[in-house]
Symmetry: C2
Subunit: 212 residues, 2 copies
């Protein structure tokens, strides 16, 4: 299985899932600006949108979109218990949280804030969503360990996204339960390992960019 | 089962799914500006984000987020065949398309364009995504009847979203396969019926707003 990723992008959630499941996947880094893989392949031939993650499975499928890839990995390695059983009430909640993280946090709140080329008004428009979206999360996470009854791929996705607050005006200190959740999750071995690997790759990428 | 909806909003996809499955649901209209239901209930007590759809199930669950609700309805009424079987390769594709529609079309492209209060630069920033997102859809739908091998709740969601092009600068004429798909789907009985009902409710709502 090959995961096409970019350091600290939302593709890190799938790396975390692989680490949790003890799966030996191949990781191919993508330059999402030049749309090329580190192996020299035009990434648009793999995902026409040029976005990570994309997952090439052993059965020859290429899957895009985080919610689809994360559920695929969870269902492919059920022993790791990364998702509630299909058709259970908890799986419905997994769908709900994956959708919320993808639409309300990732796309509505963070995308413009992470994009250096986004106009100031587009950034301000995105930031207007901080209070309601993170407020909902704050109310949900107060007194809870995970988004669902137990750890799932939704947590891997959320901890990846919350990390972006470090380089945007999103202020987690206003949401203490969310902040504590993110810190707690980052001490999980699979998550700590994924951050260590991707922070090192991210810094290497930045150094390369500064040189060119 | 109660569907909380607003006319022609993305909640219409669930109405279509109910019509397809022949399910007698209750429909409660929400004033998404005042955050009140037509029955006088504070809608924020049902969905703290104040967004439709929300679905109250017969088992006492309240589900939010379109991708979660649509899969719940499909799985609850399997005879209607509105989703591929759980854990099949086609279900992975369903996850992928529901995620694409929710993140890339609904949130990234349409939300700012539908929001009269969005600043001009935020609207322009959203519209930059038209070519790549609808271009991907154009390439996929050329020569295909549905998003998946057969009709699914993803089509119900997509036809609902594409209708918004009528009141935004999104120009479907640039994407003939997408335009033909939308027109074709709108002749399906369940979809035609849902549009007829919600267009009438939408016009009634607008008349009421103009009077007040």
């Amino acid at each position: 299985m090959i995961l096409y990723f970019s350091p600290l992008a939302c593709s890190m959630a799938t790396r975390i899932a692989f680490y949790e499941a003890g799966v030996d996947a191949a990781y191919v880094q993508v330059d999402t600006k030049k749309k090329r893989t580190e192996t020299g392949v035009d990434f648009l031939t793999i995902n026409p949108l040029g976005q990570v993650p994309a997952l090439a499975t052993d059965d020859g499928l290429t899957i895009t979109e985080n919610a689809a890839i994360l559920q695929y990995v969870a269902d492919r390695f059920p022993a790791a218990r990364l998702a509630p059983p299909p058709e259970s009430a908890e799986r419905v909640r997994l769908h709900q949280w994956l959708c919320f993280i993808g639409t309300e946090l990732h796309k509505s709140l963070f995308v413009a804030l992470l994009d250096a080329k986004a106009p100031a008004d587009a950034r301000a428009y995105a930031l207007e969503k901080e209070t309601s979206r993170l407020g909902l999360l704050e109310a949900h996470l107060a007194g809870r360990e995970f988004l669902l009854e137990r750890y799932s791929v939704a947590d891997a996705y959320l901890v990846t996204i919350l990390n972006w607050s470090a380089v945007t005006p999103v202020n987690l200190s206003r949401f203490p339960a969310v902040k504590a959740y993110a810190a707690r999750l980052r001490s999980r071995p699979a998550i700590a390992r994924a951050f260590a690997v991707e922070i090192a790759l991210y810094e290497k990428e930045r150094t390369r960019e500064l040189r060119t």
